[in-house]
Each structure stands twice: as structure tokens, then as C-alpha cells.
């Protein structure tokens, strides 16, 4: 277990010529095809500004998707990621605006509160043996309620923290490389994805998460402290939700306590489109990011084409089902 270069034996680990690489490739091909389609048929779609707009619209869902990917690979599910994001945004608001603390403490507050609440979900699941679907359904309501209670059901503004915009709308990279106007929120998504990918594929934490999802009983019998790793998995998920909370509240310059319901389903959809199996033990962060991009390219492209909102929702649903169908077909062949 010390040699990180060796591919571990757990099934479904990323590698070449596996169904997983294929699925990732399929998702990537779908993304490219969608971009090509909209570039051809939607005038004004293929511009630099719109590409940046699409990336910015992906940032929150992408980060939440990465968060839930950890949990799904471990064989669980987390329905609380959307409202957890809102709660952590409110916590950042309390630390920065109400208590007047400096920005790094606010960032820490959001991430730590997310990790703490996530650990509670994990403990409820591991120790009380409550199914993840139910436990996180409860946590979804708890987080939503607490966000309203802590904020007094009012938005908290970040006007007293002028550099709060650094976390999402501002673009630091454009100052280093002129012309590359990628907002910081998007860069944070990519950084989170890279770190998450390394953690999942190259560390013991990742190996344990895959082991839990592949066969929890086997993991338990081989002496792994299943409960501890499970709690850690949900804590990581909650912590990443905290990062999403920072991005969304920075972009809106306010923590909106009523926002967040329904975001969990978009995050799960991004993971599933990207080839993460809801049965656990299989999935990649890069797939989830591609999945999140597919969803926002679709939304943006249909909107630029002037397709009715109602139909846009229908098409997104169809894409989710098609993606999972491809996943099943590929797995059957393997």
C-alpha cells in the first residue's frame, strides 16, 4: 500500500482499455459533438465570451458534482450537497460580515462547517446504520433549516469584505496572462478537480473509498475500519460543498439562504453522465467535470438557439437517461 505508482487491485480503477476509459471517452465525444452542433446551428454560440460564460455556469455544479462523486464511488449517495452549499455560504457570511473576521478565516469557516456536517451524515450512516439516502435526505432539510435560522432568513452580504470577489467573478489569471479571462471560480473548480482526482487515484484515501464501494463486506473482513473511512468520505464531500458555497456566494456577493434546493440532483446527474456508477466502486472526477460541462453546454446552447425553457428541461432529462444507457451497454460488453 506504500507504492502509490502500482495500480491497486480494486475493480473499476481507472486505467487504459477499461470500460471506464471508454465511458469517459464517450462522454467527452458527446461534449465535443454538442459544442460542434451548437457552433454550427446557434449563431453567437462559439465566441470567447460565451465559452467563459459556460465555464462560469459550470463552476458550482462541477464542484458539487466532484463532492458527490466521492460519496457515490464509496457506494453511498448524498442528497444534501445543494443545501449544504447554502449553509456553508451562510457560515462564510457569519464569519466575515457578522463577526468581521479576515477572508482566510471565512474560507476556513465555510469548508470546516461543510466537513463537520458531512462527518455527521457519515456518522449517522456508519454508526446508526441509517441508509445513506435517508440520512442525507434528513441532512438536506437540516442544512436548509439551519441556513435559514443562522441567517435570520435574510441574505448576508459581503460588502465589508471587498476582496470576496476574488473567489469567483474576478479573474486573477487574466492579470498574469492577458486575454485569458477565466474567472477564479472556474479555476477553483479545476484545482478542486485535479486535487480530488489525485486523492481518488493515488492515495490510500482513494483506495479505501473504491474498496468500500466495490465490496464493503470484503473491505470489513480484510480488517479495514469501514466506519472511519465512511465518515471521512462524507466529510470530504461536505468540505468540497463548502468550496461550492464560497464560489456561489462570491458570485452573487451574498449568501442567499433560500437557494440550493434541486442543486443536488444536478450534481448527481453530472456524476452519472460522467460515468460514475450509482452502484459504487466505479467513477472518475474528470468524468464528472465532463458531465457538468455537458449539462451547461446543453443549457446554454439551447438558450442561445432560443429553445423554450420547458423543452430544455426535457432534453436534459433525455441526455441523462441516454448517458446511463450507454454506461450499461458498455459494462455488459466488458
Amino acid at each position: 500500500m506504500t507504492d502509490t505508482a502500482v495500480q491497486p487491485a480494486a475493480s473499476g480503477k481507472p486505467g487504459f482499455f477499461t470500460t471506464q476509459t471508454l465511458q469517459k471517452a464517450v462522454a467527452f465525444v458527446v461534449l465535443i459533438a454538442l459544442i460542434a452542433f451548437f457552433s454550427a446551428f446557434a449563431s453567437n454560440f462559439a465566441t470567447g465570451a460565451n465559452m467563459v460564460g459556460i465555464m462560469q455556469a459550470t463552476a458550482v455544479n462541477g464542484v458539487l458534482g466532484v463532492a458527490v462523486t466521492f460519496v457515490i464511488i464509496s457506494g453511498g449517495i448524498d442528497l444534501s450537497v445543494g443545501t449544504m452549499m447554502t449553509l456553508t455560504a451562510v457560515m462564510a457570511g457569519i464569519v466575515l460580515t457578522n463577526l468581521g473576521m479576515p477572508l482566510p478565516i471565512g474560507i476556513l469557516g465555510a469548508i470546516a462547517s461543510g466537513a463537520f456536517m458531512g462527518a455527521i451524515s457519515g456518522a449517522v450512516i456508519a454508526k446508526l446504520k441509517i441508509p445513506p439516502f435517508i440520512a442525507t435526505l434528513g441532512m438536506m432539510q437540516i442544512a436548509r433549516g439551519l441556513a435559514l435560522v443562522f441567517s435570520g432568513a435574510k441574505p448576508i452580504y459581503f460588502n465589508s469584505t471587498p476582496n470576496y470577489g476574488l473567489l469567483s467573478p474576478e479573474s486573477t489569471i487574466s492579470k498574469l496572462i492577458p486575454g485569458v479571462e477565466i474567472p477564479n471560480g472556474v479555476m477553483i473548480m479545476f484545482i478542486v478537480a485535479i486535487i480530488a482526482s489525485i486523492v481518488l487515484t493515488r492515495t490510500i484515501v482513494g483506495r479505501m473509498i473504491f474498496a468500500l464501494g466495490s465490496n464493503e463486506e470484503a473491505a470489513r473482513l480484510s480488517g479495514i475500519n469501514v466506519d472511519r473511512w465512511k465518515i471521512l468520505t462524507y466529510a470530504i464531500c461536505g468540505g468540497i460543498c463548502g468550496i461550492a458555497g464560497l464560489i456561489v456566494s462570491s458570485r452573487l456577493n451574498s449568501a442567499q439562504p433560500a437557494l440550493g434546493l434541486g442543486y443536488e440532483l444536478d450534481a448527481i446527474a453530472a456524476a452519472v453522465i460522467g460515468g460514475t456508477s450509482l452502484a459504487g466502486g466505479r467513477g472518475t472526477v474528470i468524468g464528472t467535470i465532463i458531465g457538468a460541462f455537458i449539462m451547461s453546454v446543453l443549457t446554454n446552447g439551447l438558450r442561445v438557439m432560443g429553445v423554450l425553457e420547458e423543452w430544455k428541461i426535457v432534453v436534459t432529462g433525455v441526455i441523462i437517461i441516454v448517458a446511463v444507457f450507454i454506461d450499461i451497454v458498455l459494462r455488459r460488453k466488458a
Binding site: A42, N44, G53, A57, V60, A153, K154, L252, N300, R303
Partner: protein
């Protein structure tokens, strides 16, 4: 000792159960939500009027404005408490008539607010004329772009009475009064983040848009975020208030907005119920009014009083 505990427990039980007995006057007020700033302002108005009239109220609402079934449950629970009056803002103007009929049969006076109920059960309805208010937004937007060019709208909801009323009030006014203005796009977004991405896509599809109308607080925050992020030189007009929107109007990102009178709506509901149980006659509809506000009149006493942060 034991006796004291028992008596105090009994007293406490009576105190909690009090609204259920006919002793104290109790009005449950059921809104379409509670976490939105707008509903908090309605609640503040209702509480002020309750204190003034010496009555007890409760203020409840479902989590989101799509949860018609949850709101019906809240309504049924409220009726079961046998209150002296009932304030109700229907999420669906027809679906909840049967439940209201039960209240009417029990002789409970009903006052509707915010959006109406398609029946004559409510004694009166305290409401903003959404069509007229959105038409005023259309006038403000039209004037600012010189009464010609392309415009668009981002609406907070496709199905609720306020969403439909504001959309149609805006579109009808433009169609009737401004022949040289063309509405090129109408999109829907139920929160600020989605509204921001929506508006950016609209601007992408139609770079020559001169103005956009946003139909509630969330949509207006999103509109302001999108204008800031794209640097688009367009005229933005909002609806309702909230600190983000007020700041956007002050720094010129939005040119103006329409405010309803949420505090006045809350006061109207409780005052009307208090009048109803005294047997006073009420008009069928009480228009609680709306105002166009912008940088120039935001600080006016009359306007500032109805804006919320």
C-alpha cells in the same frame, strides 16, 4: 411541590392551547413562502397590525412556491384549530378552493392576499395589481431606451399567478404602447444564480438587446450580476427590493425597479380580518399599491418605508 408543577404544567398547556379555544382572537396567516425577503416583510406588517388590534397570529408557508400540496396541508391544519379568521395567499388560484370551502362552512372569515382565489369565499383580497405594476416597469424601461429597439425579460416562474401576471402585464404594455420596441426573448429562472446565467445566454444570442426586465428579487439580482460580468451597456429594470437590488440601482447597474407594499399587504390582511369579525363590510379587492423607484426617489419617505434590505 408536585401540585405546583402539575398546576404550572396545566397552565402552560392552557397557554399553548389557547388559540384553539375561543377565548383569544387568533388568525393563522398562510403565505406562499417564508424564507423569501418579501414574505418576511409581509410578516412584519401582519405582526404590527396584530399587536395594534390585540390579536394573536401565526405566519406560515411552504418551502417553495411550487409546493401546492404542502400549502394545502398547512391550510387544513390551520382550519382544524378553529380560528376566528384566516389569511391565505393561494399558490394555486383554483386547487385550494375545496379546503377554503371547509373554512367558510365553519363560519371562519377568510381574507386572501398577494394572489387571489377564484371564488367568492374570501371577503376581500389584499393585493398588488401585478399586471399594472409590470406595465409600470415596461414604461420605465421603454422611456430609458428611447422607446425603440430590442428588449427581453427574465421571469421568476412560469405557472404562478405573480409570474404570469408580471410577464403578461409587461409584454402587453410593450405591445400596446411601444410599437417600435420588439421583445426578442422571455426566459425563466427561479433563483439568482440561474437568472445570471440565463441573462448572459440571452445577451449572447441577441447582442443588440437594449434592455431587460427581471420579474422578482432573485431575477433582478441575477440580472445585475450578468450586467456586471459582461459589462453590457443595457438598461436593467427589476421588481421588489432587497439590498443587492438597491445597491445595483444606486451604482447604476439597474436603472430602477417596482416595489410592492409588502408591509402594507401584511397589515391589510390582519386589519381586514379584525374588521370582518366586528361585522364591518369590506370591499372585494384592496389594492395595496406599488411604486416605481430609482436613484432619484429611493430615499423618499413613502418609498423607503416599503423597501426592505
Amino acid at each position: 411541590m408536585k401540585k405546583t408543577i402539575l398546576t404550572s404544567a396545566l397552565a402552560l398547556g392552557l397557554a399553548i392551547g389557547a388559540p384553539a379555544f375561543a377565548q383569544e382572537t387568533y388568525f393563522p396567516i398562510i403565505a406562499k413562502g417564508f424564507s423569501h425577503q418579501f414574505w418576511q416583510a409581509v410578516k412584519a406588517g401582519a405582526e404590527e397590525a396584530a399587536a395594534r388590534n390585540g390579536v394573536t397570529i401565526t405566519f406560515e408557508g411552504p418551502n417553495t412556491e411550487a409546493e401546492i400540496d404542502k400549502q394545502t396541508d398547512i391550510l387544513n391544519a390551520a382550519i382544524a384549530k378553529n380560528p376566528q379568521g384566516l389569511g391565505f395567499a393561494a399558490l394555486d388560484s383554483q386547487a385550494q378552493v375545496p379546503a377554503l370551502q371547509k373554512a367558510a362552512d365553519a363560519g371562519i372569515p377568510i381574507v386572501a392576499f398577494d394572489s387571489g382565489v377564484e371564488s367568492d369565499l374570501p371577503l376581500t383580497t389584499c393585493t398588488t395589481d401585478n399586471m399594472a405594476a409590470a406595465a409600470a416597469a415596461a414604461d420605465g424601461l421603454a422611456k430609458a431606451i428611447g422607446e425603440e429597439g430590442k428588449i427581453a425579460a427574465v421571469i421568476h416562474d412560469q405557472t404562478s399567478a405573480t409570474g404570469i401576471g408580471r410577464r403578461d402585464g409587461f409584454l402587453n404594455r410593450i405591445k400596446e404602447a411601444y410599437p417600435n420596441i420588439e421583445v426578442v426573448d422571455v426566459q425563466y429562472a427561479n433563483d439568482a444564480l440561474k437568472a445570471a446565467d440565463n441573462v448572459k445566454a440571452m445577451l449572447q444570442a441577441n447582442p443588440d438587446i437594449k434592455g431587460i426586465f427581471a420579474s422578482n428579487e432573485g431575477a433582478a439580482i441575477g440580472l445585475a450580476v450578468a450586467i456586471k460580468e459582461t459589462g453590457a451597456k443595457i438598461v436593467g429594470v427589476g421588481f421588489d427590493s432587497g439590498k443587492s437590488q438597491k445597491d445595483a440601482i444606486n451604482d447604476g447597474t439597474l436603472i430602477g425597479s417596482i416595489t410592492q407594499n409588502p408591509v402594507g399587504i401584511g397589515q391589510c390582511v390582519v386589519d381586514s380580518l379584525a374588521k370582518a369579525i366586528k361585522g364591518e363590510e369590506l370591499p372585494k379587492v384592496i389594492d395595496t399599491g406599488f411604486y416605481w423607484y430609482d436613484k432619484t426617489n429611493m430615499a423618499d419617505e413613502k418609498i423607503a418605508a416599503v423597501l426592505y434590505d
